[in-house]
Subunit: 487 residues, 2 copies
């Protein structure tokens, strides 16, 4: 039965056609002849995703031997500057967008089979005969994105406008045949990223088909128990990695709810409603009789944020309540009956509330640790009165040792929590500070990793600046906040 | 007038269609899964030229990132062993048959656009995620050669048979859409190499169209005075390098004569006869009133051999007489009248004879230097009686300080001179010794460079073993001597 539904959903996902725009852009640069060892940087003027074509011709002399070009594609200046770093971390170095190509003909049109995410193309003439020089005549890209149409920027100041512009660009480059997390590296459909990209998409490009396709993919590619995977690979075929997640499957419920609210596609929402219900039910197994998420249980990977210091059990409790409330809202909207949902919310909320420390005015995790992650999710779960929730966020800021957000993903939920509590000016300040710092760093798109105190930070080990994704889905939400809350 | 003829000849060359066989060969090797940093060597069992296809599939695990393979194609074991050498010489490193390819899909069929000359393919998994391993499932080549049909080997001993086999293989791999000098590096049509390849071809594969095409190309691509170039590039278009040669244009005459004698194609021979005449006439300008090649004249590059120590003026004198005699023979065969040829031969022969030192019994160059090159060409020019010529070659062997041949090309003419003088057993001994040493070195094809006293020798500088061509046209003539003289 479950298997048959999965097949049906996969068929629906595949049938949901997502068109990609294909427009050609030419890079600017110095097109004079190159000698051995020389390099040129060509600039598309903005971040693009697509296929690259480079035209070479003979400079001066006689073409008496093949030559070699070393190509490096950089998403931004920070990555371009890292070109000659050695990567010794644990990820596949093959993510680094570099190629060495031997060319046996001139003139020659090099059509690279790989898709790149870049603003800059560096061409180095790494091996050549002494008898001739080589010209790069043209560097062009056939852009690929499923973000159609132009969206007008919003913002009252140049910084606000720029943050909006960069957010839109980030989303545009991540919108491919699915919502990718990063068009340079990973290139996967992640549930957590999808949910945020969809939120921005509803306010901007409004490509509902793309969201629908992704939702069907997640509903199709569950584990044997019916739990959605955290991510899906979609090329060359559709497949999933080993291992389950805790928080991302729960966010399927919110993603479906928001899709229904925005796209008004009742048919899809109704068809995927049982999948949403299933997510909550499967995760419910990890709770004890008192409605508390069990310690030391193999609940799967609770992502929340990158930090190792956060109390993932406490955070998981909050995300569950948040998801249960979303499921209730969805059931009401669709006219579906879930008799057990109120009791479920009540019991789990009570257990969540036990983390609240009246005296300190915030939610406190294991060992008395205070973190933004736990407090943000507890606020989003809405277990206190709105006033108390706002107070929690305000008190949080006074704890200097509180574990701060370490990723744009966590910053998003922090800003969301501020908005939920009506703390709009703090929300806006946070955006202008955090995302503004990336703009200051020269961003055309927002990064996967951004620590204003360490601009070289990477979770990927030595030389990780080469592996970081500088255009990452989960960073694109300022454009959503600006529009949704008229910040 | 000259320009119009050149165009006509180029049109004839292009119209002379040379078919290339395309057969698929599969390499043997270990097809078990590779981890990061591991490599496998696949073996086609013999030297082949063609396009390569490699099939990859997933070993174990989840394909969560692209991977990189480093490929190295080696003509033989000697080149394979040089794989990790650094080349710092002056030629284009891009001649080295190596590639780095990033692969984003599994299973994947890698179809490389470049043509390779190789027996061995080394595949190294240079970058990969820790989550999976990769299998090489198949390494195949679509062979390209214009040598059709199987030729039975000759020889009385295993060594003789092997030398013949390796000669044939060398020619086969060099026979492409033109006679190439080396299918790995250079890949040009050289007049000196063409002449030797054609000689072997007449005794073996008998592809007359291929010779015809090459002769028309040389007749078409002359310099502004009508002198044939030493070499021609034929891809991506037909063009020639700067600079003229002295000895190779003269060999056009012999090449045309031998084509006529073997292919019996009177029409082509008659059409190209004026070009042959022109070569002698143009080179004649470099001689003084007494029929002696002028010293310090800019006569172009007199190749003869690689050694710097040979007297190129004395050698040039001999090659001229040799060519003049070939032209006379060609004119007689075609019934063409060249009233001046006998006087020309007589005058230049007299000047050549002046180099003969009666007392020492050999031809002696500048500063009393004795070289194989000068003596071989003087013997080939036939200015002494046959008995005296044989004696020259025998005396030559007694001069321990005589400048020895330094290339297979010069060894060819030495063996030819021995055959011309009826010294067949020395001719055969020379072949069994020199080419036999290459067989001992494990050759499947004969090399461009071979010094039995220094197996690593290369004229191309530091790390030159990577640049040497291990399948080189001018080394393939034992198969001609074995058949022509029944050695």
């Amino acid at each position: 039965m479950g298997e048959r539904m999965n097949e049906l959903f996969l068929a629906k996902a595949i049938k949901t056609e997502v068109r990609c725009k294909r427009e050609t852009i030419k890079a600017r640069g110095d097109f004079s002849a190159l000698q051995k060892g020389e390099e040129r940087v060509f600039d598309f003027g903005n971040h693009f995703v697509g296929n690259i074509k480079i035209r070479f011709s003979l400079g001066k002399g006689c073409f008496d031997a093949p030559f070699t070009v070393d190509l490096f594609f950089a998403e931004n200046k920070r990555e371009l500057a890292a070109k000659n770093m050695q990567y010794t971390g644990g990820m596949s170095e093959a993510w680094i967008q570099k190629e060495r190509v031997r060319i046996h003909e001139l003139p020659f049109v090099l059509e690279l089979p790989t898709r790149y995410a870049c603003r800059f193309v560096c061409v180095e003439l790494s091996a050549v005969s002494t008898e001739y020089s080589v010209c790069v005549n043209e560097v062009e890209m056939e852009e690929r994105t499923s973000a159609f149409g132009e969206v007008d920027c919003v913002g009252n100041t140049p910084l606000e406008k720029r943050i909006d512009e960069v957010s839109l660009r980030t989303l545009r480059s991540c919108m491919q045949e699915v919502f990718e997390d990063g068009p340079k590296r990973d290139r996967r459909l992640w549930l957590g990223d999808l949910r945020l990209e969809a939120l921005v998409n509803y306010e901007t490009y409004c490509n509902y088909e793309l969201v629908k396709k992704c939702l069907y993919l997640f509903a199709a590619m569950t584990n044997e128990r019916g739990l959605c995977k955290g991510c899906i690979f979609t090329t060359p075929s559709v497949y999933v990695p080993q291992g389950d997640m805790f928080d991302y499957p729960l966010l399927f419920i919110s993603a479906l709810l928001e899709y229904y609210e925005n796209a008004k596609d009742e048919q899809t929402a109704k068809e995927l409603f049982p999948t949403a219900v299933k997510q909550l039910q499967l995760i419910a197994d990890f709770f004890d009789q008192d409605g508390k998420l069990k310690e030391n249980e193999n609940v799967g990977w609770v992502h929340i944020d990158w930090s190792e210091e956060i109390d993932r059990v406490a955070c998981g409790q909050a995300v569950y309540v948040y998801a249960a409330k979303a499921l209730k809202k969805l059931s009401v909207a669709l006219g579906e009956t879930l008799r057990w949902i109120d009791e479920e919310i009540e019991q789990k909320s009570a257990a969540l509330q036990a983390y609240y420390d009246e005296e300190r005015g915030v939610f406190v995790g294991k060992g008395g640790r205070i973190s933004y992650a736990q407090n943000v999710w507890s606020v989003l779960a809405g277990v206190l009165t709105v006033e108390k929730r706002a107070a929690v966020l305000q008190r949080l800021a006074t704890y200097e040792n509180a574990v701060k957000p370490t990723s744009p993903y966590m910053y998003h939920y922090y800003v969301q929590a501020l908005c939920d509590c009506g703390l709009f000016s703090t929300a806006k300040e946070t955006i202008l500070w955090y995302w503004g710092k990336m703009v200051e760093d020269g961003a055309d798109t927002f990064y996967e990793v951004f620590n204003p105190d360490n601009l070289q930070e990477s979770p990927y080990g030595q030389g990780g600046a080469l592996l970081n994704s500088y255009c990452h889905a989960w960073s694109c939400t300022p454009a959503y906040f600006f529009r949704k809350y008229a910040l």
